[in-house]
Symmetry: C2
Subunit: 532 residues, 2 copies
């Protein structure tokens, strides 16, 4: 194969100024991640690139939904600007659902007008996952305006469990993909109705094993394999797309089909016509593979340049542009009234934690009362939960209780709390909770654990309260410390931070807590803490 | 399936204001013709539509290469304007090679600048088949400018027999499709290098049977089935895309694959995202099929409207816009010197007709001389050939001889003569030849046969000298009369008019005759008639 400049120019018997012998290896197109929120890696774009390029990823389609919820236009611009000049290609889908719910206070709101600022940018491919499918089905003008603002570009869907006429109507409105199928039947229906089905296998949701039979049956060009979210520990320990390929083949998927699902198929779906294949006029983006089972990536080329080899970056990551990004912690400490909850009644509406699920249950429980205050009780596995608004200094603090999380000591807290990313803190001791919340505010964001009046471990996330400014190995190490410290709290949850980060998300059933109080997701309303 | 307005809105258990029961039938997307020169049907766009819609065709991608060679910008505009408002969709690829050769005099020349006028029109999809591959490989600026002028749009290729590095270079320049493969190996190489391979099965070239094994093996989404050219007799007797489907299945191709090759595959290739499938948001274009073998089309819907049923048009074809189109016959009769050829030497370079081929052979032969003039001799099967320039009144008349065509009496003539479409006439009697040529000029174009001083049969083609203004059945009847008359000339060629129309094309080897004289195709130069 002959390369000139950044492109493949021919396949055949060529001689070159520089020749590379790849005998015995497999040459695949550079991997394309079809849908990811880079923020979930807790890495800034440059460090994310440094982390994934050695694993063969040369193109990423990113949806900066998280930072957009915190910093709006500035957040999207930051992600775009920080992605320029990297030795990989990052395309963007503009977040469609900011905020994702009126039941919480986010840092920004994006209407069709704001979205339209970005749609004609060169590295913007379209509109990010339209999660608010009820507003689509209801024909809400604000949502339809967003679809119209991006017409002619790709519009990604997100419609878990949507079937039948509702699914038809959703597709009719313009959504061309979905990555939320959790059964073969659901995925098959979406494919039959013309959708591009992205099989998601990430850190928070894994559907590959379930959907593998459909892939094996169809080997369909309208199927991709994506991560959606990939947390730093897994990124460090498992890799990125190479990990998806290993798992796909372990699930019995033909390796060539698996490679197409992370190269040509997503590239075609997104209309990026010079990516995802090895042929004249395609960009010279390659992953050199040792075999088609372990998928060890021995070399990575981007735009004709060797950028990584044997798991290490070779190309320099250019210094990130000095995008001025405002601090994102804006808690109204003047209005702070502490975390005490005067006992207004005997029973409270409480969240019931469901291990391994993003959904929660709900219950009415007798709450312990001490000095007139409703309190947590680790013996009964009842913890307190607080969500502190941190964008607009509203002074909002949502307070409530959660059963079954397993915390026995101290407090854990995070500024990563989908989707508004206020500060969330779960604890059994008010002092530890306040320490945790104040420290996160001081750090300009982060994840931490406080026990007995001391911060035991922390991971600062100064970029929007979502991302570190450090490389993956340092983030991985800090996260290890945090997981160690988590065990000191008595919590047996293998990943309490991810669990915590979804307890404030009022679009996943059934009971959540936001800065505005308990949110009854199905009822689409707030619920008073105490039984009335 | 539910339709609202011009679109499919859902598939499922719907009720409608109007309901159609298609029990026992097959519902296919309306057929998409991926590459055709409508002019080859000898029908104006409206009559072409009337002829093909009942056969299930709802979308055509047309390359008005022929009329562009005659009338340039005006010709392209005519085809576009005449296609508006029809009960089918006609997209255009702008002809890239006008003129196709400097060895003849065409009516127009289109550079990148002229092509650019059209590229952003709504129903223009890109640049038509780039036949001049040598100029691509040579990096000729005028050709590269045309490719640049249409960048970002589809560019169709046309590269018969191109392989290896030349093929790589051609693809690198931007051509994304080819429809000239005549072997499985050639088509496979083009597919592997990323091309969309159109399997051609038309009136002048048929590759389906040869390429069917590759289709059966791959069932590839990057393969389509197209006609390129479809003459009126075959259009009337065999149909259009339905005929391709019958033949494909007869060649052992899976019927669903065959249907995809004339629906979804070409639609995806051309980036026409709402065509070629049956799913929400797709246009309600359908062909209702009786079965998947005979592919009898019982109903045709375009944009949700029943437009044809049981082989007959139901929708009205709106009156064609009164596009003012100038007369295209501009022969310089003042300079006319007749068809006599003074015998300058004993031997002439002569074309050797090869039955069933577009290529010709060449020979040096002793020519009969009468009264000092070189003359035809039907006993030796040597006819005279004349090409009369008819665009710019240059007075050019190319004269020569052809062996083996089989004409024993009279003359046959046509204003369809690829690619410049000057008047071509083949005969054994100068008086009949002159009558034929003058009559074609008087008719403003056409095909005719003159015997013994009488026009025996004619088909007027007043639109650019290429197309009739009559419906298919009348054109078919006139063509039948012409074929009957052809037999009176003693000619046993089943389609002498098509054969005649390629004798002036100086891009197909080896010896042709243009208005500028004998053209040595391989030598890319003119040849004197007499041996020097």
């Amino acid at each position: 194969m002959a390369v000139a400049g950044d492109k493949v120019v021919g396949i055949g018997d060529y001689r070159g100024k520089r020749e590379v012998d790849l005998s015995g290896a497999y040459l695949a197109p550079g991997f394309v991640e079809g849908h990811i929120h880079i923020e979930s890696s807790m890495l800034a774009p440059a460090e994310f690139a440094r982390a994934v390029i050695p694993h063969g990823t040369t193109t990423v389609i990113a949806d900066p939904h998280e930072l957009a919820n915190v910093l709006g236009l500035e957040g999207i611009n930051y992600m775009i600007e920080q992605s320029l000049g990297l030795p990989m290609t990052i395309y963007f889908m503009i977040p469609s659902c900011v905020p994702s719910s009126p039941l919480e206070t986010s840092g920004a709101a994006l209407s069709a007008r704001e979205i339209h600022y970005f749609v004609n940018e060169e590295n913007v491919l379209g509109l990010g996952e339209v999660m608010n499918w009820p507003s689509v089905l209801d024909g809400e003008q604000a949502t339809l305006d967003k679809l119209l603002a991006t017409e002619g570009k790709r519009i990604d869907g997100h419609c878990p469990g949507l079937r039948g006429k509702d699914l038809n109507a959703y597709i009719l409105a313009g959504m061309k993909s979905d990555h939320e199928s959790v059964s073969v039947e659901e995925a098959r229906e979406k494919l039959r109705l013309g959708m591009h089905v992205m099989v998601r296998e990430g850190s928070t949701a894994r559907n590959l094993e379930t959907l593998a039979p459909l892939v094996r049956e169809l080997s369909h060009v309208r199927m991709s394999l994506i991560t959606d979210d990939k947390h730093p520990v897994e990124l460090a320990d498992e890799g990125h797309i190479d990990c998806l390929l290993r798992r796909a083949v372990a699930c019995g998927i033909d390796p060539i089909t698996a490679i197409q699902m992370v190269t040509l198929n997503p590239a075609k779906y997104f209309g990026t016509s010079h990516i995802g294949g090895i042929a004249p006029r395609y960009y010279a983006d390659f992953a050199v593979l040792e075999d088609l089972k372990g998928f060890r990536v021995t070399q990575v080329y981007h735009r004709g340049r060797l950028v990584a080899g044997n798991g290490r970056m070779l190309a320099e990551i250019p210094a990130a542009p000095a995008t001025p990004l405002r601090a994102s912690m804006n808690v109204n400490w003047a209005a702070w009234k502490g975390l005490g909850i005067p006992a207004e009644a005997k029973r409270v509406h409480a969240i019931v934690y469901q291990p391994g699920q993003l959904t929660t249950g709900r219950t009415l429980l007798e709450i312990d009362v001490r000095d007139g205050m409703a309190v947590a009780n680790p013996q009964r596995d009842i913890a307190k939960l607080a969500v502190v608004e941190r964008h607009r200094a509203t002074g909002n603090v949502g307070l409530g209780f959660i059963a079954g999380f397993g915390l026995k000591r101290g407090a854990i807290a995070s500024s990563v709390a989908h989707d508004a990313h206020n500060i969330i803190c779960l604890g059994v001791d008010d002092a530890d909770m306040e320490l945790a919340i104040r420290t996160i505010s001081d750090l300009e964001g982060g994840v931490l654990i406080a026990i007995d009046g001391e911060v035991r471990a922390s991971l600062p996330l100064p970029i929007g309260g979502l991302m570190s400014d450090r490389p993956l190995d340092e983030v991985r190490a800090m996260m290890s410390n945090l997981l160690d410290a988590a065990r000191e709290t008595g919590c047996t949850n293998p990943d309490p931070f991810t669990a915590l980060s979804f307890l404030a998300l009022p679009v996943i059933p059934s009971l959540k807590l936001t800065d505005l109080g308990l949110a009854d997701v199905e009822g689409f309303r707030h619920l008073p803490l105490f039984e009335q």
